[in-house]
């Protein structure tokens, strides 16, 4: 199972790097969303996978009675998803606004903040 997910992370990263090499900012952003999911899976798998063992403590006990899933990576992934959600919503909005006022999505045509100097 770990191997399978590790391969999946690899495929996701490869796909997203391909997307992120594009000049189109929107493609770059899609790549970023994909790679952030790869990172989340990576955290998840590095906490070791245990099938069908929710980390719940039965009533009356102070500690889980048998081997349960590691709850910490799940909490971390959840936090990372929430943060990523906010950041990407913002980035998407920014790219959209940028497209409206700059009229382009190509990163090498965005030279407003760094104008070409004469003689270059």
């Amino acid at each position: 199972m770990e191997l399978l997910i590790a391969i999946m992370v690899g495929v996701l990263v490869a796909a997203s790097v391909y997307l992120m090499l594009a000049r189109n900012v929107l493609r770059f952003l899609f790549g970023l969303i994909l790679i952030s999911n790869a990172a989340n899976l990576l955290i998840f798998v590095s906490g070791r996978l245990t099938a069908e063992a929710p980390p719940l403590i039965p009533e009356g006990a102070d500690a889980p009675l048998e081997l349960v899933a590691n709850a910490l990576p799940q909490a971390l992934v959840l936090t990372a998803i929430v943060i990523g959600f906010g950041l990407f919503a913002f980035a998407l909005m920014l790219v959209y606004r940028g497209y409206q006022s700059l009229g382009t999505l190509m990163s090498d045509e965005m030279r407003l903040a760094e104008p070409k100097e004469d003689g270059q």
């Binding site: 929430v82 906010g86 919503a89 913002f90 909005m93 959209y96 606004r97 409206q100």
Partner: protein, 140 residues
């Protein structure tokens, strides 16, 4: 904004349902899957639907308060839940519990700062999603 009678009629029902469901998710969150984040997402879905059916200005009127302010108030509530522990000489963000009507073998109705924190999270998520969506809706 879409001009569709079916969507318009359905939205009226769905908004109320989604909002109620979001509160249910918020309250259930302490022991079961759910909580402030999910609740806020579901609640904002209701108003997003409303914005699609009726347009952004009508949604702002229906909301009454600005979504940014809701998010900020939520942040304040969450912060308050963390700071509340100062009155009990505990560390920052230590959960404080009150068991209303507790007896020997029944915990009664547990009210905690954890719940207050979750309500804050609910408002932050609700407010910030609606801020973004309404801004986008008004741009298009």
């Amino acid at each position: 904004m879409m001009n569709s009678i079916i969507l318009n009629a359905a939205t009226r029902l769905l908004v109320a349902l989604l909002l109620m469901f979001s509160v249910y998710m918020l309250l259930r969150g302490h022991n079961l899957p759910g909580g402030g984040f999910i609740g806020g997402l579901i609640g904002s879905t209701g108003f997003v639907l409303y914005a699609i059916a009726q347009g952004a200005p009508a949604t702002r009127r229906a909301l009454r308060a600005e979504p940014q302010s809701l998010a900020m108030v939520g942040l304040g509530i969450a912060l308050f839940a963390g700071v509340f522990a100062v009155f009990f000489d505990d560390a920052f963000f230590t959960g404080q519990w009150l068991f209303i009507g507790a007896t020997e073998d029944d915990k009664g109705l547990p009210i905690s700062t954890v719940l207050v924190f979750d309500i804050g999270v609910y408002l932050v998520v609700f407010g910030s999603i609606l801020t973004l969506v309404l801004a986008l809706e008004e741009e298009v």
